[in-house]
């Protein structure tokens, strides 16, 4: 089965789905029904195929697997080249899983222009999977940047009252960051003579050039992660986006930045990465503490979760740039965990929003009496977000902190304090919404989660718990690749006789 084009199938099946959706004709009602059905089937098939790469994945090598290469533009030496290794494989599956969830989550809440909506999500799926599996710099950029089109439309067309502002902010912030990356990419192609990432990963760029390239990539990834102080687009985008838009934004798009740091910054510019590690550590530590404090003061549920995302992603950047096995593995687990947990939390908010049409925390209270099942689901994800042992959040944060302690005690100490703040704002949120007395009239008839919603949450709950109890299932897959990455990073530093300036 080694020649079976797994990745191309995952990338292009959603496009086939789009084609079928475009063919739908009829009145609004039938169009919407058919569009939902086609989108669901397409995303489910894509998800099942993507499980195939996990099953067939070879844990014992750090080489790229399922590689496909088709020459695209010979004169520039560009090719359509895709493949995954232990680092990117789970992100592909995360993208396909969350697309299914998004289609289901929009089943009843989206009634306007359903056809266009489903097309946007399937197109987004193609771009996300392509982004994580691209092995050619230019191809990577095409997928990376292309995401802006569907995301802009999803927020702008189906978003809340301030959607114009939010959509613009998302578009221009991200574009401004990534065009600088385009210049860096073109410089790399010009210097190394190829855009093939498998070669570039082994190419040693001159130290002086590395800093510039690193900064250009940083401009792009820092906006995506997002890191403090360029995170301000995220709360706006989340608040205005429809539920599924928030899910995909928090679940997958934020991972673009962390994945980019792992795939490009660390292995391709190791010297610059080491130089700039203090910068990353400071920004991340500030992000964790500052945004956690801001989260405490939020009145809007989605905004609170958005700020918590910034804090959680701060852990990821610390983990990545700790540059050791624990830190990097922790960062990947944390990204996967955050992908599931934050997506689920936005869905949790979405359940309430569908019923009451308010995101104000004050509009709720005492839901546990009317919605016991909902309270349980919410609690599981809240605990995972806090990082309670037994959930996926714990594994990620624990590994990151272990990795960080080895490199820089201060950063680890500050980050740990963020955990306490994290527990504070999540528990406070949970108390205000779920506990207390049910006094508001419009909540007295609120119904508990229905079977469709349970179907959405079940796989997410299972993943969170499996990842928390038996992390080896995931860690084994990525172990060899991460080891290779860390080795490459450390040996590059050693050969340049690099003396870390932040060693404590």
């Amino acid at each position: 089965m080694s020649n079976f084009p797994w990745l191309s199938i995952i990338i292009f099946v959603p496009l086939v789905g789009i084609f079928f959706i475009l063919l739908i004709k009829g009145d609004d009602e039938t169009t919407a029904r058919n569009a939902r059905a086609i989108a669901l089937w397409t995303s489910v098939v894509t998800f099942l195929v993507s499980l195939g790469i996990w099953i067939n994945f070879d844990n014992s090598t750090s080489e790229f697997q399922f590689v496909e290469k088709v020459i695209w533009i010979p004169s520039l030496d560009l090719s359509y080249q895709v493949g995954v290794d232990g680092i990117s494989m789970f992100f592909v599956i995360l993208s396909t899983l969350l697309t299914v969830i998004c289609v289901l989550a929009s089943w009843v809440s989206i009634t306007d222009r359903v056809k266009d909506y489903m097309i946007a999500f399937l197109f987004l799926e193609t771009l996300m999977v392509g982004m994580f599996s691209a092995l050619d710099l230019i191809l990577f950029y095409v997928f990376f940047e292309g995401v802006l089109i569907p995301m802009f439309l999803i927020i702008g067309v189906w978003g809340g009252p301030r959607r114009n502002y939010a959509a613009y902010k998302l578009f221009l912030y991200t574009l401004a960051g990534s065009v600088l990356m385009l210049i860096a990419i073109l410089t790399m192609v010009s210097v190394a003579g190829t855009s093939d990432m498998t070669i570039l990963l082994k190419y040693d760029f001159p130290a002086s050039l590395q800093s510039w390239l690193w900064l250009a990539f940083f401009a792009s990834f820092a906006v995506k992660v997002p890191m403090w102080p360029v995170h301000t687009w995220l709360p706006d985008a989340h608040v205005e986006a429809p539920t599924a838009g928030s899910v995909i934004l928090a679940g997958v798009l934020l991972k673009f930045g962390g994945y980019g740091f792992l795939r490009f910054s660390l292995p391709m510019f190791p010297l610059a990465s080491a130089d700039f590690t203090p910068l990353i550590f400071i920004l991340s530590a500030v992000a964790i503490i500052y945004t956690s404090l801001i989260a405490l003061a939020q009145e809007d549920m989605k905004k609170l979760i958005a700020y918590s995302s910034v804090a959680h992603m701060g852990f990821v950047t610390i983990g990545v740039f700790s540059g050791n096995l624990q830190g990097v593995e922790g960062a990947i687990i944390q990204m996967l965990s955050h992908g599931i947990v934050s997506a689920a939390l936005f869905l949790v908010v979405g359940v309430l929003y569908d019923r009451i049409h308010s995101r104000e925390i004050r509009a709720y209270g005492g839901l546990v009496t009317r919605m016991p099942k909902y309270a349980v689901i919410f609690m599981i994800f809240m605990m995972a977000s806090i990082g309670l042992p037994g959930t996926s959040g714990f594994i990620g944060e624990f590994l990151i902190l272990v990795g960080a302690f080895k490199v820089n005690t201060w950063v680890a100490a500050f980050a740990t304090s963020g955990l306490i703040l994290g527990a504070a704002y999540m528990l406070y949120l949970y108390r205000r919404i779920v506990f207390g007395e049910l006094i508001k009239d419009n909540l007295k008839k609120i119904s508990d989660v229905n079977s469709r919603e349970i179907a959405i949450f079940t796989p997410l709950i299972l993943t969170v718990i499996v990842m928390g109890i038996y992390p080896s299932l995931f860690l084994d897959v990525m172990h060899v690749s991460v080891e290779n990455l860390v080795e490459r990073y450390q040996s590059a530093l050693a050969s340049a006789e690099y003396i870390p300036t932040v060693e404590q």
């Binding site: 695209w72 997928f143 802009f152 067309v157 401004a176 210049i183 073109l186």
Partner: protein
């Protein structure tokens, strides 16, 4: 003294056939008094322009020059002429409804477009400053007339007059530059001039030559509407009948850009360090002005004017990347990037203007951006294709506009013009703002009074072709890219 022999007419056959047939059509139009004659002549002109393409392809092979070396045909000219012809033909095609609506449906309109096209083809083939000047004038005079074609509209007349006065000024500048150069070189032939400058072997040319060069560059930048000689563009674009604006933004731009490149690399190729800095300045200024000035525009044609100023700035990056570079492959890359950019730009522009031509309400054309509000509700298909063009103009992958930007920036990086490339991408972010504003108006804003959109078959065809190219070019860009490469290399082989 030797009697002059008849020159070889074969290389110029497409132009000659076009000219003769057009004059015949003109006579037919004058003498046949039939109601349908205008329509017939319009279709005949389209057919003529399209037939000229295969004719051009079969009648030339390699580099041929005739008329005492004043006329040259090579892969570069064939490539550029193909797109000049295609855009002129598509403009006549999409103008059909507009001509009827604005009662300018007379037979002179397509004839003038073909005459302008002949001028453009001669421009692209000119290998002598005299031929160059005559060709530019043939092109410009025809365009001045059709810009003012809408007789009962003051705006159209104003636009034609402005275009004429400023165009004449630029021709004067260019002519003055040519005379200076002639005074120092003693010939107007490109090849002889190139030889003379080669003889300098690295020495600085006399100041008179440099002044002449600056005047010629100024004249060209009028024609391609590059900053600082862009000021006619917004007024002319806004006032001229919309199909004429579509034409102005496409065909003459290719022709003037092609001629610009041929002049800079032909006679002045040896003193490229002299003009490179001017090109870099023009490129930066055009990208910047195009990005900032378009933001506040209310009229979509005026916005497109600034947009095309910006796009010319990006295309000029390709030319700037050639100057002062020794590596032959990088020199070809620069021009190749520019050609790829121009071709994609033309497709996007013709597509966008086809959409603009559909903006009608109560039997009148409307031109304000706000009139598009809620178009995605009232006409989803048109809104979709319009947004695709806009995203492509902004250079967002996977649409074709990205490919053009990729190529010019790659050329700039190869030539180590990092500052230029960085300013270029920053300008493209600012530019993205006003392109996505159109998308915003169509998709996010509540519908105002709906447009009465009825898409005629002609516009459907053009939209289908341009849309198809813009969406799918990224999957199989090879024909365009290798064609551009071949055309670019033709410039460097003597």
């Amino acid at each position: 003294m030797q009697l002059a022999t008849i020159p070889d007419l074969m290389p110029a056959l497409p132009e000659i056939i076009l000219a003769v047939t057009t004059l015949v059509l003109l006579m037919l139009g004058v003498f046949i008094r039939s109601l349908n004659i205008a329509r017939t002549i319009a279709y005949a002109c389209i057919l003529l322009l399209l037939l000229a393409i295969p004719l051009m392809l079969v009648s030339t092979d390699g580099r041929v020059s005739t008329f005492d070396g004043a006329f040259v045909v090579n892969d570069f000219t064939v490539f550029m002429k193909t797109f000049v012809l295609l855009s002129a033909a598509s403009v006549i095609l999409i103008s059909k409804d507009y001509r009827k609506l604005q009662s300018i449906d007379s037979f002179e309109f397509p004839i003038l477009i073909v005459l302008a096209t002949i001028g453009m083809m001669l421009m692209l083939s000119a290998n002598d400053f005299l031929g160059l000047y005559l060709a530019i004038e043939l092109q410009s005079l025809s365009l001045y007339v059709i810009a003012a074609f809408q007789k009962d509209s003051a705006r159209s007349a104003e636009s034609g007059l402005k275009y004429f006065v400023l165009g004449a000024l630029s021709s004067g500048l260019m002519l003055y530059g040519i005379s200076l150069i002639y005074g120092f070189v003693g010939s107007t032939n490109f090849n002889i001039m190139a030889e003379v400058f080669k003889g300098l072997s690295g020495e600085l040319p006399p100041p008179g030559v440099i002044i002449g060069l600056v005047f010629i560059v100024a004249g060209f930048s009028f024609k391609i509407s590059a900053v600082p000689f862009h000021m006619w563009t917004p007024d002319v674009y806004e006032g001229a009948p919309t199909p004429v604006t579509a034409l102005l933004s496409a065909a003459p731009k290719i022709a003037a850009m092609g001629l610009f490149v041929r002049t800079m690399l032909g006679p002045f190729g040896e003193i490229d360090d002299q003009w490179q800095q001017i090109i870099i300045f023009m490129s930066i200024a055009s990208m910047g002005l195009g990005a900032f000035a378009a933001i506040n525009q209310k009229n979509i044609k005026r916005m497109m004017a600034y947009s095309s100023i910006g796009h010319m700035g990006y295309a000029l990056i390709g030319l700037a990347a050639v100057g002062g570079v020794e590596n032959a492959i990088f020199r070809i890359h620069g021009i190749q990037g520019m050609l790829v950019y121009l071709v994609i730009y033309v497709f996007m522009n013709i597509g966008t203007f086809s959409c603009i031509l559909l903006m009608k309400r109560d039997g009148r054309m409307v031109e304000n951006i706000d009139d598009l509000a809620g178009l995605s509700k009232t006409n989803p298909g048109l809104a979709l294709i319009f947004s695709i063009f806009m995203f492509s103009m902004a250079g967002i992958p996977p649409l074709a506009g990205f490919l053009g930007k990729l190529y010019v920036f790659q050329a700039a990086i190869n030539s180590e013009l990092y500052t230029l490339a960085i300013i270029g991408v920053v300008a493209s972010v600012i530019g993205a703002f006003y392109y996505i504003r159109i998308v915003k108006v169509m998709y996010f804003d509540p519908p105002v009074e709906a447009l009465n959109v009825s898409i005629s078959l002609e516009i459907k065809i053009v939209l289908a072709i341009t849309g198809f190219v813009i969406i799918f070019l990224i999957f199989y860009p090879m024909p365009l890219i290798s064609g551009a490469e071949q055309a670019a290399s033709a410039l460097f082989t003597k």
